[in-house]
């Protein structure tokens, strides 16, 4: 197995594009940056205990049959990542999100992992070995490498989300709520997500377990992840004279997930939302045409913003909320217009 990870240069080239490109350019660039960082970190961790030269290539029997210096490895890996990153960057054509884009992003993830895993493995196999010719590559590592690459590809595909959907056909006008002048109304509803609750608890549990085992960095990361996921387990959606507010239901109301003020709202509709087909999954989803807090499939408020993007949130009784939002947006507009 060739030990080479080429993530570095590619990543830099890609992130240059990403700074001006859309959100998904960042996702596409991420695996290359992450893999380069990982390989460098692994190298730093084992650098003192590496033989010179390293075993870098293995025959089918698992015996080392090719050698190189750590310097070679650290040149080859970034070079491979640069080249593959550039190829995917060229294929992606950052300007437009096309149906193929999620698959290209998935390919980038798989490629970066396919470069990174063998690189790290090579370093680990050589770790603490005096004579590189004694290094063996267990045969079962080959399927593991494949699985790692496939899993990374699947992760990339999930993060990239579904292909863009066609803009909604005019969804039957926007209803208004009958609200006499002078009357104030507020709409409020909670939506809970067992998925997020379970995920949060599992992450937190894993963090505790890691803490017991003494893996403090893992504890920190897992607890942080749990803290990010748990607020989404139950969310309160409010529509009132200030606009649309989405906030964690079980935390002080000062913490908000998102607020859309009235003057940014062009139109609101209540309609069924398909989480997987329209938003490519659950959670806070950011798509080419807009974003949304999608905790389940079904009834949801879809707000078209003045810039043309949309913000959606899945919640029961969305039609009432949308009608009230439209009514208030009308009021805000008539006040502004004089």
């Amino acid at each position: 197995m060739k030990g080479a990870s080429g993530v570095g240069v590619g990543a830099r080239a890609r992130s240059g594009l990403a700074s001006k490109g859309p959100w998904w350019a960042l996702i596409a660039a991420f695996p290359f940056v992450a893999v380069l960082t990982t390989v460098v970190l692994v190298y730093v961790a084992v650098a003192d205990r590496l033989p010179e030269p390293l075993a870098t290539h293995f025959a089918t029997g698992g015996r080392a049959d090719g050698y190189g210096t750590a310097q070679d490895l650290l040149t080859l890996v970034p070079a491979l990542l640069l080249i593959s990153g550039a190829v995917f960057g060229a294929l992606l054509q950052v300007r437009a999100f096309r149906p193929a884009t999620p698959w290209l992003i998935a390919g980038g993830f798989a490629t970066a992992a396919g470069i990174g895993y063998p690189s790290c493995l090579t370093l680990f196999l050589n770790d603490g070995v005096a004579d590189a010719s004694t290094v063996r590559l267990p045969l079962w590592q080959l399927p593991v490498a494949l699985v790692v690459a496939l899993a990374a590809g699947a992760l990339g595909r999930l993060l990239a989300g579904a292909p863009p959907r066609q803009p909604d056909p005019a969804s039957g006008g926007a209803p208004r709520l009958d609200l006499p002048a002078g009357t104030t109304a507020g709409w409020s509803h909670t939506v809970s997500s067992p998925l997020m609750a379970v995920l949060g608890v599992v992450l937190f549990g894993a963090g505790l377990a890691a803490g017991v085992l003494g893996a403090w960095p893992a504890t920190l990361i897992l607890t942080l992840a749990a803290a990010l996921v748990l607020p989404f387990a139950s969310v309160r959606v409010t529509v009132d004279r200030r606009g649309l507010t989405v906030a964690p239901a079980l935390l002080p109301s000062r913490l908000r997930i998102r607020r859309v003020p009235l003057d940014r709202i062009k139109q609101a509709t209540g309609r069924p939302i398909a989480a997987l087909a329209e938003y490519g999954g659950w959670g806070y989803r950011i798509r080419p045409g807009g974003s949304g807090l999608i905790l389940r499939s079904g009834d949801g408020i879809v707000v078209t913003l003045t810039g043309g993007r949309t913000f959606a949130v899945t919640v029961d009784d969305a039609a009432t909320a949308a009608a009230l939002l439209n009514t208030y947006a009308d009021r805000a507009r008539s006040q502004q217009g004089g």
């Binding site: 709520l177 609200l179 006499p180 002078g182 009357t183 104030t184 109304a185 507020g186 709409w187 409020s188 509803h189 909670t190 309160r236 409010t238 009132d240 004279r241 200030r242 239901a249 109301s253 009784d317 009432t320 009230l324």
Partner: protein
């Protein structure tokens, strides 16, 4: 659920908030176990005083429609049924009508008692 208040109305704002919740339970928009927004949040939404909201919630608690728990806020009780909430609405209508006629509280209770004795 939808809360509506009209500051121009003669009905106290707290009662208007209570009426909104009662109506939502009556038409099934809100079901048992559901949590109402925190008083402070709702007050901000409607632009009314927190105490006004709390008065409305207190009223619903007295009617047995919600439970008020420290830290958990207002939760619609399991005993609540749409029919029970509708009864509360009907009573509120009776009282409003009687007051419009200029009846005192005693007289309103008297009207109900006469109705009960008549059966």
């Amino acid at each position: 659920m939808l809360f509506r208040v009209d500051p121009g109305s003669s009905v106290p704002l707290g009662d208007q908030i209570a009426a909104s919740v009662r109506g939502a339970i009556a038409d099934g928009t809100v079901s048992a176990g559901e949590r109402l927004p925190a008083a402070r949040e709702l007050a901000g939404s409607l632009g009314v005083n927190v105490h006004t909201v709390l008065r409305g919630y207190q009223r619903l608690k007295e009617e047995g429609l919600i439970e008020l728990r420290r830290g958990r806020g207002a939760v619609v009780t399991g005993a609540t049924s749409p029919a029970r909430a509708r009864l509360g609405e009907t009573a509120a209508r009776l009282i409003a009508e009687a007051r419009q006629l200029g009846l005192s509280d005693e007289e309103i209770v008297g009207v109900v008692r006469v109705g009960l004795n008549g059966r």
